[in-house]
Amino acid sequence: MSAATSGAGRRVWAVLELLDRQLVDRNGHLVGKIDDLEFEIDDDPGALPRVSALLSGLGALASHIGGDAGRALAATERRLAAARDRQPSRIDIALVQEIASSVELDAARDDIDTNRAERWTRDVIIDKIPGAGHVAE
């Protein structure tokens, strides 16, 4: 399934192989799904659009779903993100290490923008419960 190291010439179906795929950080932790792709189009005529970033998070998911459900999700994301005015979570394509059944990123989850909701839940709720750091395995 994986191509050679540089993967030159490999064909990737964007919807089948990238969209809604699990993102994994460099330590194997799960850090969300790919909800959308961002393309850049250079100015030269005839240049093909390049994938510049992966988008992940409620805002990106909302535009991906569209319709009423999408608008509801977008409204939720705006409410939750009121304090911050950053872009919906964007992962630069340069961070992508491997495209297999999940997409591996060359970054740790605490450095990945999309994981801020997880960190918030951890800090505000879960860490307050005794035993949150307990290793169950």
């Binding site: 010439g9 490999r10 064909r11 393309f39 189009i41 535009s63």
Partner: protein, 103 residues
């Protein structure tokens, strides 16, 4: 430009023929080398077709071939329209110039 803006858009020819909707995008890893030491992904073609159910299952792209009953119901070959033939794009439609009938 976002993928979500392309997928689901109706594709029509310059003459007005309706080719269907965009189901998938064909990317090829043949762009300039990125910071991660890999060639970038460039958008080469749109996969266009009639029914949109099951575009992500794998039947249209050929990676799933069974079971027989689902393949019969869901298999269809996607028509690939090269990106270079796109002449105009707005919120609802993508207009392409495929110059004559057939691929």
């Amino acid at each position: 430009m976002l993928l979500s803006e392309l997928v689901g858009s109706r594709v029509v020819t310059a003459e007005g023929d309706d080719l269907g909707r965009v189901h998938d995008l064909v990317l090829v890893q043949d762009g300039p080398m990125g910071a991660n030491g890999r060639a970038g992904l460039r958008l080469h073609a749109l996969a266009v077709g009639r029914r949109s159910f099951g575009a992500q299952l794998g039947y249209a792209q050929g990676s799933v071939r069974g079971p027989w009953i689902l393949r019969k119901l869901l298999h269809r070959s996607a028509r690939l329209v090269p990106w270079s033939s796109v002449v105009h794009r707005d919120d609802e439609h993508i207009v392409v110039d495929i110059g004559g009938r057939g691929d």
